[in-house]
Every structure is written in C-alpha cells, then in structure tokens.
C-alpha cells in the first residue's frame, strides 16, 4: 500500500476541491459531479477511473459517515465499494480509525467481517489458487497452516462512493476465501494477474461493531422483461434474480434499472407462506423474500419447500418445510472442510451423525433470490443431533455450512399466522414428546449413581458391625418343648439394624430356628423365622448339591435396649444334628438397600432411553444411513 502526501486536490471534471481523509486511499468521489477520481503514486492531480458511481446501490444498510467501534477503537465509514460478484453482492466499506489506520469492513448477505492485512504470506503460492477445487485441494499460504478453498467468486462490476483503496481501477477482481479447518479464514483478492492482496477475515456482527446509523433500503419496481407487468424487488442490494408474479418468468436484475428475462418460466407456485409475509421467528423479525420447491435428484417423491427469510441486521436465513416438519437454517462460518466420507462430525464438542446426502434441483420458485437458481446440481449432506443439524452444500464455486434447528408448527403459526395442516412421519430433527437431551441424561444418571454409590460406601465404611451375641447351642436328641433363651445383650444406638447369622452342620437335612427378639424392658417382641438346608448327592453320573449350612437375616430399625433371644429349633432329614450357633451383629452395611435404590433410580432413565430408541428407529427409517439397519444385519 502506498501512502500519499497530499490530502486536498482538484477534480479534473468540475474543478471542485476533492479532499482525502486517509493518506492510504487512492480513489475518491467528487462531491460535486460524482466523478470517481484516482490519484496515482508519483503523479500530481487526479484522473477519472472506470469504477462507476451509483447512488441507488449506495443506499445500503451502512451509509457513509456511519460510526462504530472495533477492538475498542472508534472508526468511521469513509468509502464503500459495491461489488457484483455474479452469485451475490459484496459490500466493502473503507473504515478509518481515529489513530489514522485503515481497514475494510465487508458485508456479504448479512455477514459482516473486518479485513486486516495478513502477515507472512507465501506470495509465490498465490497464483496456484486459480487452479484449486472447492473444499478439496489444500495450500499452505502461511507457515504451518493448511488452507482449503471455501469460496471463489469474481467481481464483474464494481460501484463505489467515497474514499477507497484499490490497486487497479477497472473494478474487476477475483476473491478467494480460504479456511484452515480450525478458526482462521483468509481472503485473497486477485486484482490483475499476479497482483494479490491477502487479508485475515475477522467475522463480527453489526451489534458488536455498534454501527450507527443504519439505513433501510428502498425497494425497486421494474417491468418484467417477459410480460412488462411491474415486478417489485425488495432487496435490490442483494437480489440478482426475481420471478415475475404475473407470468412466472425468471428475470435477472441488470444494474438497478432493468430486468432481463432468462428464457425460463416456472409454473404458478403458491407456497404455504406467501412471499412478502412478515413474522417474528427465533426472536428475529423476518420478511419472506423468496420461496422454492426443491426435489432430490433421482427420487420420485422427495420434495420440499424452502423459504428465504431476510432481516436487515441478521441477514438471510431459510425455512424448509418437508411433510409438515419445519427446519430453520442459518449460514454459519465454521471451518469444517467438505466431509467426503465422514459418518459423523464434531462441532463445538457435539456429535452430529450423517442422516442424508443427496443432490437437489429447483422445481418451482417465487419471489427474489441472490443466487442463480437452477444453474446446476448442488451436493448436500445433513448431519443431525436432534433437534439441531449441520447441513453443508457444495457446488463448483462455494462450500456453505448451515446450522439448522427444528421449528414447531406452533412457532410457524405464531410467526406467520398459518402453518402446515398435515404432518407425516417423524421429521429428521423432530424432538420426541417429553424431549430430554439423552447425552445430558446419561451424564446426570452417571452422577446420580456415583452419588448413591458414594453414600453407600460411606455408610458401609463407617458401619460399626458390633458383635452383640455369638453363642453355640447343643441340641438334645429330642427337641425341647421350651424355648432356648440366650444371654442378654444391649443394642446401643437409638435405632440400629440387627443381623442374625445362623449356622448348623446340616447334611442332607434341614434346620430351622424360630427366633423371637425380646426387649427385656418393655417386652416387645420381634419374630424371625429362618432355616438352613443342605443337600447333596450323585445322580446321572454327576455330583450335585444345593443349599448351605449357614444363612443370615436382618431386622430393621431396632430401638436401643436390653434384649435376649427365645429360640425354638426344629430339624429334619436323613441326619440329625446336635448343635447350632447364632451370631448377632448391630449396625451392619445394607447393600441390598443400595441395589434396590439404584434400580429405582434407573427407572426414569431407562424409560426415557426406551422411548428414545423407539422414536429414533422411526426417525431413521427415512434415512439411507439408518444405523439400526446395520445393527440388525
């Protein structure tokens, strides 16, 4: 960039004084005759350029003189270029900071970015860009950074007003946008062959820039080139094609004063939401500027309607309706390359799974568009994590990512006063009734089970396990009619569980103890009937055994006090035993409680998981990448 010494000179057309506020700009508009004038390095005075001045197009959302703040530095818009990039319009504003430095502010279809000169660029590699394919080839323009091409566009015409910096003055240039797969984006502008400038693209929003004031643009009304009936263009600064509402001819907007028919006519198309209707969706006031009926190539009945929505501050968004299911889409500048084979992608630590990949074409259209509809087949892939999705579209000139969200019929009705009266199947992003994020539920369940486990481990480790009684008893040949009474023992805590362990040397026989725990102070009794049995033998050539010689039982919440046991033993079987033993412990761990509570805690997540599985199976029936098919196979 060359820095000029002089700031004031004379217009060669009308002799008016022309003042430059920046010493880094080389083109300015004469405020009197609107000639676009250029100053050249080493030459005195000004000369006229080929860049046109156009006041109508100059009427964008950001007027000259608008002020804003970037990185804490105040700036003022001192010039603007309006570049017709064939597929879209790109507005480039010259912003002058209070410290005298200069930068570009660009706006394309509602996306705003500050462009700052990139450092340490391998300039010898820049000519290779022309031969690169979108989203496929990579190039190392800066050390350690592999960049791939996400957009390639050519400016066919440039209009300007105010002060701008431009290495050449025909207004024709090629712009390449590159992404590194992480968070860096570069714009390379090729003015004339071999004349490159490279900028870092720093995306931002008008709100972040605190731009004031902002303009509203005026609509154009032009006669249809086919039927001469008036056609309104609501967004002349963006739209380059419009469908005549009377004869449905496809017209191209040429400049700002003429429509040219492209010898293509659509059938009458009356979308559910009329073009021109306004509504608030996702807390943004939108106007529907266009609608298309698209179909999947190679498919007989896969058709959907897509609406173009516009808001001056938020730019464009889209609303797709398929089988009565609505999806809201907004372009996002994520640096994901074209997912050639990926079955899933990770964006912001969230996993999105490939639901559909297809190519599509336009069947019907109404309204106005910034893109050239029907100029070719577009490849698309959709990665879902309901109720959200990332969709990517790729053609020969651009790779575009969209973030999408399911939108209910109720939201559509509240926004536009009408909605789809039908709904078939499960939508790709439709949340199930009683929706819960299963990923979060899984994490919360894990936390809940860990918490329950920790509580159980704590009480198990701190359980006293106090032995209150440990006694052997001899059994006479004939069982006594009276109860065996044990020695007294004291239960100390206010309330405690008591574990009874009964052992008897049974052998192909059984032993049963009918026990009563008796509170010696108040006479309250706690009955317990527990037995052991053990059988073994040899049959069918194999040994077998069942039962055990010991068992245990638990009594719950026994109050503190002095207790003894009354035991009524009984036995039977092939062999008589002559002794048994009983041990009583207080305050023992209760793992069966834990297992039961964990089972209870599992009911809610299991129920949700089952509902989720059933719902997902129905959803994925519509996908060629149905993971449930591969599971079953």
């Amino acid at each position: 960039m060359y820095f000029f010494d002089t700031h004031t000179t004379v217009c060669p057309v009308c002799q008016s004084v022309v003042s430059f506020r920046s010493n880094a700009t080389n083109i300015n508009t004469c405020s009197n005759c609107h000639s676009m004038l250029q100053r050249t390095k080493g030459e005195a005075g000004l000369k006229t350029t080929h860049i046109g001045y156009n006041q109508t197009l100059a009427n964008t959302t950001i007027p000259l003189g608008a002020r804003g703040i970037y990185n804490g530095k105040n700036f003022e818009v001192i010039g603007a270029c309006y570049c017709d990039m064939t597929r879209f319009f790109n507005n480039r504003f010259t912003i002058l900071f209070t410290d005298g430095s200069l930068a570009w502010l660009t706006e394309t279809m509602g996306f705003y970015a500050i462009l700052q000169k990139a450092a340490d660029v391998y300039s010898s590699k820049l000519p290779l860009l022309a031969g690169m394919d979108i989203a496929q080839d990579k190039i190392e323009l800066q050390k350690g950074s592999q960049q791939y091409l996400v957009d390639k566009s050519k400016s066919e015409k440039t209009y300007a007003c105010g002060e701008i910096h431009s290495p050449d003055t025909d207004g024709i240039f090629t712009a390449y946008e590159l992404a590194d797969g992480y968070n860096q984006r570069l714009e390379v502008i090729e003015y004339a062959k071999g004349n490159f400038e490279v900028y870092n693209i720093l995306y931002c929003t008008p709100a972040e820039l605190q731009l004031q004031p902002l303009n509203t643009t005026a609509a154009l009304v032009l006669p249809c080139d086919s039927c001469t009936k008036p056609v309104q263009i609501v967004l002349p600064q963006y739209s380059n094609h419009v469908v005549c509402p009377a004869c449905f001819a496809w017209n191209e907007l040429q400049g700002v004063d003429r429509l040219k028919s492209k010898n293509k006519k659509f059938n009458a198309f009356n979308p559910l939401l009329p073009v021109g209707s306004c509504g608030q969706l996702k807390n943004i006031d939108y106007k529907i500027t266009g609608a298309t009926r698209k179909y999947e190539t190679g498919s007989i009945n896969t058709e959907w309607t897509e609406y173009t929505l516009y808001n001056p501050q938020n730019g464009f968004a889209f609303l797709a309706e398929y089988n009565g299911h609505w999806t809201y889409l907004k372009e996002v500048k994520i640096n994901q390359p074209w997912p050639v084979y990926q079955q899933e992608i990770i964006v912001n630590n969230e996993q999105y799974v490939l639901f559909n990949d297809y190519t599509f074409r336009i069947k019907e259209a109404a309204g106005e568009f910034y893109s050239t509809l029907g100029s070719g087949t577009v490849m698309a892939k959709e990665y879902i994590s309901p109720p959200e999705m990332y969709a990517v579209e790729k053609n020969d000139t651009e790779l575009t990512w969209y973030k999408a969200a399911y939108t209910s019929n109720q939201e559509i009705f509240e926004a536009f006063g009408t909605n789809a009266t039908y709904q078939h199947g499960i939508g790709p992003l439709q949340p199930m009734k009683g929706y819960i994020n299963m990923g979060l539920l899984k994490q919360l369940s894990l936390v809940a089970f860990t918490l329950l486990f920790c509580v159980q481990v704590f009480f198990s480790l701190t359980a006293k396990n106090t032995v209150l009684l440990e006694q052997n008893f001899l059994l006479p040949d004939s069982l006594p009619a009276k109860a065996i009474v044990t020695t007294a023992f004291e239960v100390k805590p206010r309330l405690a569980n008591l574990e009874f362990e009964i052992s008897a040397p049974v052998n192909n026989s059984w032993f049963n103890a009918d026990i009563t725990l008796v509170n010696k102070q108040n006479g309250k009794e706690y009955p317990l009937d527990k037995g052991v049995e053990f059988y073994h033998g040899y049959s069918g050539g194999e040994k077998w055994s069942e039962g055990s010689t010991s068992t245990d039982a638990l009594l719950s919440s026994i109050p503190a006090g002095i207790y003894h046991l009354n035991i009524f033993p009984s036995q039977g079987g092939n062999y008589q035993i002559n002794s048994f033993s009983i041990a009583v412990r207080s305050d023992v761990p209760m793992w069966r409680n834990f297992i039961f509570i964990v089972l209870l805690a599992s009911i809610f997540p299991l129920l949700q998981w089952t509902r989720h599985q059933v719902f997902e199976r129905r959803r994925w029936n519509n996908s060629p990448h149905n993971p449930f098919n591969s599971e079953e196979a």
Binding site: L452, G531, E533
Partner: protein, 54 residues
C-alpha cells in the same frame, strides 16, 4: 410445550427423584431401616421341612 421447557422439566423431575432417593438412602442407613426386613416375611414350609427331597 417447547423443547427447552420439556428438557428442563425432565431434568427437574430426574433431579427431584435422585435427591429423594439419596435422602431416603441416608435416612435408611442412619436408622438401620432395612427395606427387606426379615421379620416381615412369613415362611410356610411343609411338614417335611424347607427342602424336602424324596
């Protein structure tokens, strides 16, 4: 009901259930309350005993 509200409601329900279960577990452990109290069970064995084998 929108997705966010439904999700929040479910999370609240799950949190309440978990909190109640944790509270119940702490109470049961503190008081020795055993959910499968042996004294509540009635064993009805045959006259031949608990595991009569011919």
């Amino acid at each position: 009901m929108d997705i966010k509200k439904s999700h929040q409601l479910n999370i609240i329900v799950f949190s309440i259930i978990t909190s109640l279960l944790v509270a119940w577990m702490i109470y049961a452990n503190s008081t020795g309350w055993y959910l499968f109290n042996s004294s509540d069970r009635k064993q009805s064995w045959s006259s031949s005993g608990p595991g009569y084998h011919k």
